[in-house]
Amino acid sequence: MSIVPKETIEVIAQSIGITNLSPDVLPNIASDVEYRVREIMQEAIKCMRHSRRTTLTTVDVDSALSLRNVEPVYGFASGDPLRFKRAAGHKDLFYIEDKDVEFKEVIEAPLPKAPLDTEVVAHWLAIEGVQPAIPENPPPEVLTVPSDNGKTAYKEDGIPVDIKLPVKHVLSRELQLYFEKITELTVSRSDSALFKEALVSLATDSGIHPLVPYFTFFVADEVSRNLNKFSLLFALMRLVWSLLQNPHIHIEPYLHQLMPSVMTCLVAKRLGNKFSDNHWDLRNFTANLVASICKRFGHVYHNLQPRVTRTLLHAFLDPSKALPQHYGAIQGLATLGPNVVRLLVLPNLEPYLRLLEPEMQLEKQKNEVKRHEAWLVYGALMRAAGLCMYDRLKTLPSLLASPARAVLKSNAKVITTTSKKRKASMDNTMQQPPLKKLATESTMGATPANSLPVDMPGSSSGYPTVIGTADTNLQSSRNENVPESSGRKEMVGGQGPKTSAALTQAWKDDVDAGHLLPLLYEYFGESMLSFIPSPAASFFL
């Protein structure tokens, strides 16, 4: 009947020396014990509330007992909430682990560290109702949820509420230390594992937004002063990369300060020691960085990508610029997407190659370094053009018979990124008018290219791999195939006079792609083949 079983009473009675307890008394005592225990616990809850806690502790029970002038139960006091363990085999039986402690050990053990003294720290929980993103406040993802609720509430009430953005940031001591540590690491120990940790922290920490202007200034300053320190530049670019990765940072307003330094690292004439440092890597890395910036902020900063492109194109087309600068420009343009390459690089490909060619040839360029550079530029150009073509050809397979694709899909080793595909195809639909223009351009380009077959052996002869006769067969067969396919399509188009303009445009693109391939093949030879998506290749082969 009561929670306390009468056996318990009996045992307790025996333990204090009462053996002749009559059994009639037991249930009465048991029920009274339960009543008293409940009473004490109610008082304990009051004490807990007045101690501003939500967990009941032994201290509360003690104070409840002392309220009733009862001696407290000694030996259970603990500063922290008790940790209960579930008894094995029971669903709702818990106990507190009580370890045996060797007395000797306790005596011999070194004194424990003194507990830290209580302190008070101040921070802004909100500034004019807006919580600043500082480490003392919970991370923004926690914050957004309730604020959303708040917004819906406003809507219900029908009252327009404008929330001011934070106006003032307070740089706490911790943040200052953090900034100092990071900058020191970047400048002096960028190869350490600690720097990697720092980069991870930069990319994930939610509270470092107040530091963004300082970091921006730091990067700009260091880049302008240390163009010959390769490792520092690389570290700075990685820092920028990490900052861009951080989802909690609102970096947009600082981009205009950041971009010049980044562009410098892409197309500067000299980055670090020309001979000992692998500045190509840095340029590659920065090119990706630029691309990711354009991708993320292009829609917000409508003139961001045009400006970047113009700068890069300028570097690319200026023959007086050094080859590493060209390399950087090409890499940068290539990462901006196949459409950029097609629109800006390909039309200039032919004259540029003519310029580049002498630099690559052993006979004409005696300088080993220069020749190496030229080859790297050539490789970059080829990659850019190839990826562009790959992208164009991808639109073809949709027209191809699916069985062929299924069979040959297994050897599709060059299919790189699917996301790029999707994006490119979106671009396709959006940029119809320029495509039209391009179509005419490329066909125009194709005719002179066809008239220059003499160039081809020259350029490909420099390439280490020897082209067999099979290749020429290939080429011819492909050349046959292309007109045929386009011809067939045009025929279909002729058959259906009612077909929409869009459809013909799409076909025109295909035709255009068809033209592109032989053109590029002429420039780069067989190495271009690896860029052809396998279904398309199957179509051509």
């Binding site: 409940r38 501003r52 309220l67 008070v120 101040a122 109702g129 926690v142 009430d157």
Partner: protein, 668 residues
């Protein structure tokens, strides 16, 4: 069945139930009937009454009766259902107590357990208390149960529901239930449609002598207006004066200017005075602007103080006036800035946190009997973001310097011999009061860093202590179920407010110092007249212990926060709840109104500070409220979560900067 037997049974029944008058009436009638000799009794009823006295079946009867009644109430028409369901809870607890009282402990337990889920949501705390009752003697001993059995519950019900209920009980002859309902429930039958569900009439709170008494108390007149001659008024006057003097100066200046034109040589000097005047004018203009905006406070009626008020030193007055002039006007559009003071390394020992009115001093009361005071103006200098810019002119820093020289960042106040449960700063920051479980209140000087007085009077732990808005007087609340009013210069209390049925957990002064409000574990808030010591209002509506109180600066409203996270806004004049504010999920430790009363801040154990818009409700006129129940819902403007720091204390500075304090707790 013999007629005499029936009569005996009826008499026995009436005696048992204590229906003395009916008994008398019956006896009289019997006598008259004996004369006329015309027996006509319904044998059926007699049978039932006899069955009632049949001791064997009592628990079963209760059980059966209640379950029948319950299923009927649950299956009744939706329109009347909620009203009928309200009757269930009192019927349930009285059934339970009746069974206990008759000594059927086991059956009572079974009965209790089979139906307790129905009421768990609304009355879990009462049920927990009642669960412990295991013998008839406990019923007598336990105050809650005792008072339940002494008093009647009053329930508002519409005429039709009432008829339905009575009809049903008669028809089905559930005599036990009928008995309980007659005996324990006082129906306030109202004509017309049943009240809406949202109406909080289903509160079931015990008030010493029943609801009627509470209603009577709430009829008393109270003067909630603000004090005459308050500083804010002075500010207004001062503003006016400046304006006046400015005008006069302007005229003089004009005259001067003309003279200056004539004497062009003296131009430079005239220009400088002109500049100065302009500056003065700007100040006056801002003063005026703030005055016109703070119309909420000046619109309140004025009352004379009942206490002799202490005299404010002029320099303090000036600095307060300065603060008032620089006050930021807050509204739903302009939310306050909040400076948060986090206590770290408290090892679960922090019981309370209190912040002075200018935010420069923070006091923490600890369970190790210590009271620690931090001077934030000095700590703030290190981080360079002292949130109390310019507001700490009142606190002299020299004395505390030696304390921090010892390597501690705080001043330790030792004197209590038990956990310190509450601390409060005087309005000007020069005194600090602390209350402790050693049943004493101590007064400390923040200038001397010493204990000045120890006030002994309470017999049990003092849960809360609060300085009055004018200083000098203070109020305390204790486990001994009293609240007391003290003045700083006497060691005996001036008034003792007794009447709460359980611990008085929190206390708060009214803005005009003529009243104090107390919140208690008996789930009521009471308002007391300081001069007479009488209870002038009882606010019923909370479902759990009341933990925090706040009074609006215009003196019209009061907010109270409870253990469940519910905040209620009360209209002091009518004694009714304006609106409950629901949003917190745990205990409300602290409440604070902004200085012009437009916002309410609440700090809770769920580690959030919430800002509520309270202007809207205040301005909604009565007819509108009746038309649409939703218009008087106050809204939450903003929820500001902290980093696992329950908010122990909140304080709006005179310039409307909000200070909050809490102890960082480890995430388990």
């Amino acid at each position: 069945m013999d007629e005499e037997e029936v009569e005996k049974a009826v008499l026995a029944y009436l005696k048992k139930k204590g229906f003395k008058q009916t008994e008398l009436a019956l006896q009289e009638e019997q006598q008259s009937r004996n004369k006329s000799n015309s027996p006509s009794t319904d044998p059926d009823i007699a049978k039932h009454i006899l069955a009632l006295s049949d001791a064997e079946n009592i628990p079963a009867q209760y059980q059966e009766g209640y379950s029948k009644f319950r299923s009927w109430a649950y299956s009744s028409l939706d329109l009347y259902k909620h009203e009928l369901l309200r009757v269930l809870y009192p019927a349930f607890i009285h059934c339970f107590m009746d069974i206990i009282a008759k000594g059927y402990i086991q059956e009572a337990r079974a009965f209790f357990n089979s139906f307790r889920e129905d009421h768990e949501m609304m009355h879990s705390r009462d049920l927990q208390k009642l669960e412990g009752v295991l013998s008839p003697s406990h019923l007598e001993e336990m105050e809650f149960a005792h008072s339940l059995r002494q008093s009647k519950v009053s329930i508002k019900i519409c005429q039709y529901s009432y008829d339905l209920l009575i009809q049903y009980l008669h028809k089905t002859q559930l005599i036990t239930m009928l008995g309980i309902i007659n005996e324990r429930i006082n129906f306030q039958v109202s004509p017309g449609q049943p009240s809406s569900i949202s109406d909080d009439a289903d509160v079931f709170t015990l008030v010493g002598s029943g609801h009627d008494a509470a209603n009577l108390v709430n009829q008393k007149e109270i003067h909630w207006g603000l004090l005459e001659d308050s500083l804010e008024e002075k500010l207004d006057k001062a503003g006016g004066q400046i304006m006046d003097s400015d005008k006069a100066d302007g005229e003089v200046k004009d005259g001067d200017l003309e003279e200056n034109k004539k004497r062009s040589a003296d131009g430079g000097k005239g220009g400088s005075t002109q500049k100065k005047l302009k500056k003065d004018k700007v100040v006056a203009a801002t003063g005026k602007a703030s005055r016109s905006e703070s119309s909420t406070t000046s619109g309140a009626p004025r009352v004379k103080p009942e206490l002799t008020l202490p005299i404010i030193p002029t320099e303090v007055e000036h600095s307060i006036l300065e603060d008032l002039r620089n006050r930021v006007q807050l509204s739903s559009m302009t939310l306050p800035s909040i400076s948060f003071y986090t206590f770290i390394n408290t090892h679960n020992g922090l019981n309370c946190a209190s912040i002075s009115h200018d935010g420069s001093l923070v006091a923490g009361g600890f369970s190790d009997s210590s009271l620690k005071v931090w001077d934030m103006a000095k700590l703030g200098q290190q981080t360079g973001n002292s949130p109390s810019q310019g507001e700490n002119e009142l606190t002299p820093n020299e004395n505390i310097l030696n304390a921090s020289a010892k390597g501690r960042s705080y001043t330790l106040f030792r004197g209590h011999s038990g956990p310190v449960y509450s601390a409060t700063y005087s309005p000007f920051g020069d005194f600090l009061l602390s209350s402790s479980s050693d049943s004493t209140i101590r007064l400390w000087s923040t200038k001397l860093n010493a204990n000045l007085v120890c006030y002994k009077g309470h017999n049990y732990p003092v849960w809360d202590v609060q300085f009055s808005p004018v200083g000098h007087y203070f109020a305390s609340a204790s486990h001994d179920r009293t609240a007391r009013i003290w003045s700083m210069d006497r060691i005996q209390p001036l008034r003792i407010m007794a009447g709460h049925l359980s611990d008085v957990d929190c206390v708060q002064w009214h803005a005009n110092c003529n009243y104090i409000a107390t919140g208690s574990s008996d789930k009521t808030v009471r308002l007391w007249d300081v001069q007479s010591g009488e209870c002038v209002r009882i606010f019923i509506g909370h479902r759990s212990m009341i933990l925090s109180l706040a009074m609006s600066p215009d003196g019209r409203y009061m907010a109270s926060g409870d253990e469940d996270g519910k905040i209620m806004m009360w209209d002091l004049a009518s004694g009714r709840c304006v609106s409950p504010l629901v949003g917190h999920s745990s205990c409300i430790w602290s409440l604070s109104f902004s200085c012009e009363g437009s916002l309410l801040a609440s700090g809770s154990a769920d580690s959030t500070v919430k800002i509520w818009d309270v202007t809207k409700s205040s301005k909604v006129s009565k007819p509108e409220e009746n038309k649409n129940g939703n218009t008087n819902r106050l809204r939450s403007l903003k929820t500001l979560p902290t980093k696992s720091t329950p908010v122990y204390g909140l304080q709006f500075s005179r310039r409307n900067l909000l200070f909050a304090a809490g102890a960082l707790t480890k995430i388990a």
